[in-house]
């Protein structure tokens, strides 16, 4: 089971790297989901190592929050695409335009 701890750390770091490196907003959101997956795995592992069921409830709340985050993020991308015809972060320099 201990290999999963390293896996969750790896997933978090890989998601962070992708969020920094990627240039389009959709790929950045995908990498954020990867980070969420890593943290969720860590909470389930805590539930197994402490024997408490509370950590599993935290994972349920985390799924709710990640669903909200993705929905609002994607609708923001659609609104931005309608206005600017782009999804690249380089092209969106002034936010108040």
């Amino acid at each position: 089971m201990s290999i999963y701890y390293y896996l969750s750390a790896f997933l978090f770091c890989l998601g962070l790297l992708g969020t920094i490196l990627k240039k389009d907003l959709i790929s950045m959101l995908l990498c954020l989901e990867l980070m969420m997956g890593g943290v969720g795995l860590l909470f389930v592992l805590f539930s197994r190592s402490t024997g408490l069921i509370d950590s599993q409830l935290v994972v349920i709340f985390m799924m709710i929050i990640s669903a909200c985050e993705v929905a609002i993020g994607l609708s923001l991308i659609i609104a931005l695409f309608r206005k600017k015809q782009t999804i690249y972060t380089d092209d969106i320099k002034i936010i108040t335009e």
């Binding site: 790297l17 990627k22 389009d24 790929s27 069921i53 599993q56």
Partner: protein, 178 residues
Amino acid sequence: MAADILLTILTVVFALMVVFSKRTVVAAFSLLMTLLVIGMIYFQLGTVFLSAVQVLVNAGAIAILFVFVMMLIDVEQFTNNRERNKWKLIASTITVLILLGVFAIVINNNIESLSAVNLSDNSMKTLFAKLFDVYYLPFELATMLLLAAIVACVVLATHDKHQSEEELIEAHNVEEKQ
């Protein structure tokens, strides 16, 4: 132990494909597979309900939502040959590797205390008894958050009808002048 290693390798491969694939659609489907394999890991760890919710909500709904949005804005029209900043790549890779090293050291030092114990009562009944007894306030707040997210999505993604009508009238006026 063999299943542990197999699931870990699968997750690592799909996660690498999310970050390093050139096409965004491939990345989205790799994310779907990653979340699916994480659901399998939940199942193997004995948290069956979370495994089902992970497959239904995260893999089934969220990853498919990404693909829908890609179809809406036709993501393939953007060629992915933007110039990459070499120093940014090197600096962020080194930073993330250091972070991963710190995580690995922390896990390595505490690995004895992190071994699995038997969950005293792992049934769904206990889970939901606790959810509606101890955590009822966060649960209600979560429902409010979902409601706010629905309203925000509708407001943000709805096409501004008046604005497009004004643009049409303007374009019509320009044509008439010509």
